[in-house]
């Protein structure tokens, strides 16, 4: 079931607009390719004369690399090249923002191929190219690496201790306090403060403080990382790859290989999921170096266990959250202490985690301490609203407990304290018009909320979530064709239907149909710089660029109409795609046909770099049933409500809400990296790392709230990320009502739930 709700309290400037294309549900432009098997993903490419690469990976979680001997592999017939970190230029400390987080190129280079030490099980140490993939794997086994194993540190609390094994001898904590004299595994300590928390907690009638832990989870895209690299004899490098951002791959390649960006072309193929995990490079630089050394195109595709063990999962965390409220239900103060595992290199997602921890509420007094901690696990990466899901689990569980203690309805308690226009977040920014209150009200009005849940072992939970959403750079060009259609050329890789949501905005502005726009995602030589498909930015920012390009086209069409009709451009008016002047009138399409005969080609251009956050909020309502015999939690009913600003293509907005919810449900109930004492992941397959299947989930009901974003001509906010945020706490709160047990650890898998219920009945 899906519902769309416009807010009741819209001000005059927000009168609901009527659109012809926006809000409709056209078939996506790349649809036929994707249902017939014709869409070309990177692994579908067979570039002429192509050979295959394979990695040698560390069998140790932490080890000094004593020596690497590639000679035996190189003697094998059919083996064409080998590669180690010695083949990469010496890296230097330079930090760049890749759109969903920053990267230090020295760390990135060391992650792509280990230098002096292997820092996690699966860390790439060497690679080989051969004429077939079996041969490449066999050759990789013949590369001899001598290791000196070192003690590993695998959990955040242990890694922070003074006597923990150090990953990086030179790592000194970056902090606002005095710089420590000794290195440690704490890469940074960030702090936010608002008001005076002593005053705030003194004013509280109830104070609750809890500790939370969450496990490492993976983005779990179905397509493994895969690239084909061709380093030509003229020094030009071309890479076909599965990436969320072709331009940020180009930028990373240029830095890692020390070559100008103009020498590199990145061709983004269709991408089989990313969720934040396909922004950093892994196999691309290695395939490039192997290609340079053997003079042939090299394809590297990871196996699934390599994806789990050696690409970015999102962190495990340890968190303490304390909140105080008055007896009439007003929050007075909050204190958060958050430690996230960054993986083997600094720069995890603690920053956004610390910014999001109290982002749903108007808190007069708060402090947040966040720690970025390195340990012997793969370098963590963004995963859909990176950091926000962790902290929402902590905060929303404490909020629920406070509401219960104060005997206030959980939605009313949240409404009492909800962030709204003018609320200052603990990390500084003041919200413009946002839609959390409207989302909570829409849940209150839903059939789900109004239908009581009955039966034993059942419970209902509520939770909120926030994600910033970003702007960043996007470029498009749009060419008017002789038949009045428009070809839209863009650089945003399309993971979930953004070709169509961007094309629809161009169509709306021009007054043509979505089908009259032909969108194309092109390589980095064929369009202006465009940041990643991430940060829920694509429909917002690249859509904004498409709108600008449409206005540019419209201006040129007016000039041509004036020329044809022999009048001044000032006398030509445009409404709903109809051009009128000098007593004449033509539709966009008809005018395009005329203009093609007489005028110069019409090409529109849109380039944008909006600096704002578009501020997405979501609320979940979930009913669960807990099997007391097994601890298995079944989701009986699930409703997700989200402020989309303006849903451009409602089906794909619902799809983001449903998909994000499913990932949040997996995070809540099943997904985790199991590590042995040796630091080896024990469940590096889709059989044992269990993402939700069709059979695990119910239908996911959606309520789209539309509180227009003041920073977009059509009111668009991003929608992609925030729906992953509220499910874990909403489910934890529901399980509490079903069992009487509060859970402070993710995942709430059957053994954990069963033990807790058993402990409760036996008094353990």
């Amino acid at each position: 079931m899906s519902t769309e709700v416009a807010p009741d309290n819209t001000s005059d400037t927000e009168s609901p607009a009527t659109y012809k294309v926006i809000g409709t549900r056209p078939v996506r432009h790349d649809g036929a390719d994707k249902v017939t098997g014709k869409a070309v993903y990177t692994d579908d490419l067979h570039v002429p004369n192509m050979v295959f690469g394979a990695f040698v990976r560390s069998p140790h979680a932490h080890a000094r690399i004593v020596s690497i001997d590639t000679s035996e592999a190189e003697k094998m017939p059919g083996v064409l090249a080998t590669c180690t970190s010695a083949d990469l230029p010496d890296p230097w400390d330079k930090v760049d923002n890749l759109g969903e987080g920053c990267v230090n190129y020295a760390h990135l280079s060391g992650n792509v191929l280990a230098r002096k030490k292997a820092l996690y099980k699966g860390h790439a140490v060497a690679a080989v190219a051969a004429t077939d993939s079996y041969l490449a794997q066999e050759a990789a086994r013949r590369i001899k690496v001598e290791y000196e194993p070192l003690p590993a540190t695998m959990c955040v609390q242990d890694a922070m201790k003074d006597d923990a094994p150090l990953l990086h001898d030179e790592l000194i904590t970056h902090t606002l306090d005095d710089t420590p004299a000794r290195p440690s595994n704490i890469a940074s300590h960030i702090q936010f403060e608002k008001g005076n928390i002593d005053e705030g907690f003194a004013a509280a009638d109830v104070v609750i403080e809890r500790e939370f832990k969450t496990a490492t989870v993976h983005q779990g895209y179905i397509e493994p990382h895969v690239s084909v690299a061709l380093w030509n004899e003229d020094g030009r490098l071309k890479i076909w790859t599965a990436t969320q951002g072709s331009f940020v791959v180009r930028q990373q390649m240029a830095e890692l290989l020390k070559m100008p960006v103009s020498q590199i072309t990145i061709v983004p193929c269709e991408i089989g999921g990313g969720f934040g995990g396909k922004i950093s490079v892994y196999e691309q630089p290695v395939a490039a170096v192997l290609s340079r050394k053997c003079g042939r195109p090299v394809k590297i595709m990871m196996q699934r266990d390599e994806v789990f063990e050696a690409t970015g999962p999102t962190p495990a965390s340890f968190m303490r959250v304390k909140l105080g409220a008055t007896k009439d239900g007003k929050l007075t103060a909050g204190k958060a202490w958050l430690a996230f595992d960054a993986g083997a290199f600094p720069g995890g997602v603690i920053g956004p985690g610390a910014m999001c921890v109290f982002s749903c509420y108007d808190l007069p007094h708060a402090t947040v301490d966040g720690f970025d901690v390195v340990l012997n696990k793969p370098k963590t990466q963004a995963y859909r609203a990176p950091g926000s899901t962790h902290v929402a689990f902590a905060t929303e569980c404490v909020i629920d407990e406070l509401a219960e203690r104060l005997k206030i309805d959980p939605i009313e308690f949240r409404l009492n304290n909800a962030a709204k226009e003018g609320t200052r977040r603990v990390d500084g920014p003041v919200y413009p018009r946002v839609g959390l209150v409207e989302c909570l009200q829409a849940i209150q009005e839903s059939d789900h909320w109004k239908t009581p849940l009955t039966g034993p072992n059942r419970g209902r939970g509520v939770a909120c979530g926030f994600w910033f959403n970003c702007g960043l750079k996007s470029s498009v060009t749009a060419n008017v064709n002789a038949d009045g259609t428009v070809t839209l050329v863009e650089g945003s890789t399309d993971i979930g239907g953004t070709r169509t949501s961007i094309a629809m905005q161009l169509a709306e502005t021009l007054g043509i149909t979505a089908e009259d726009v032909i969108p194309q995602v092109v390589d980095t030589d064929s369009v202006g710089f465009t940041d990643v498909t991430g940060g829920s930015r694509t429909t917002f920012a690249t859509g904004l660029a498409a709108h600008e390009a449409a206005l540019d086209i419209q201006k040129q069409m007016v000039e041509q109409a004036a020329q044809i009709w022999e009048c001044s451009p000032d006398e030509v008016t445009v409404a709903d795609g109809v051009y009128q002047g000098n007593g004449k009138s033509l539709s966009f399409k008809a005018l395009a046909v005329e203009a093609d005969k007489v005028g110069i080609p019409i090409v529109g251009r849109g380039v944008v770099d909006p600096q704002c956050s578009t501020n997405a909020f979501a609320v979940n309502l979930v009913d669960v049933e807990v099997d007391p015999e097994t601890g298995k939690v079944t989701i009986l009913r699930f409703t997700v409500c989200q402020d989309a600003g303006q849903a451009i293509h409602p089906s794909y907005v619902e799809g983001q809400m449903q998909g994000g919810s499913a990932q949040g449900i997996g995070w809540a109930l099943n997904e985790e990296y199991f590590y042995g004492d040796d630091g080896h992941m024990r469940n590096a397959s889709f059989l044992d790392y269990r993402i939700p299947t069709c059979y695990d989930l119910p239908m996911i009901d959606t309520i789209i709230v539309e509180v227009p974003n003041p920073d977009h001509p059509y009111g668009v906010r991003g929608v992609g990320e925030v729906p992953i945020v509220p499910p874990p706490p909403a489910i934890a709160n529901a399980i509490y009502r079903a069992t009487g047990v509060r859970f402070f650890e993710l995942p709430m898998s059957p053994p954990t739930v069963w033990h807790a219920i058993k402990g409760q009945t036996t008094g353990e």
């Binding site: 078939v27 098997g37 579908d44 799809g655 990932q663 069709c694 989930l697 239908m699």
Partner: protein
Amino acid sequence: MKTHVTTTVNGATVEFLCQPRQSLLEVLRDELSLTGCKEGCNNGNCGACTVMLDGVPVDSCLVLAVEAEGAEIETVEGIAEQGHLHPLQQCFLEGAALQCGICTPGFLVTAKALLEKNPQPSEQEIRFGLAGNLCRCTGYDKIVRAVQAASRTSSES
């Protein structure tokens, strides 16, 4: 040493040479250029490589190519007929039942087999029938609805 295999793919007789260790998935993709079936895990967990083998949906990564001798294979490339999308394909498009699209071919092959065996499945039967195919984008809601819609379309026609 390579083995000669004669098989039928999407109604046409096909011959190929393969190594005994090569999977049907590898041969379909690399030798026969039928890249609609996808490799997601290469160990039978994700279902992205699903094809029909003698009327039964199988993970083609778990079938050796030599086992295709004399068999009838159908892939996603064979679902649309004479320039027309199959009702399932149409319902996937109209119902927005795909996002990144990498799992879509596997779902279509599995769903077609399900509907041929059980033209009017319940929601639970659809969910059980598709449980061997993983999708990380959609949360399955729109996939289940698309199969329900296709089931209605075929009962009306």
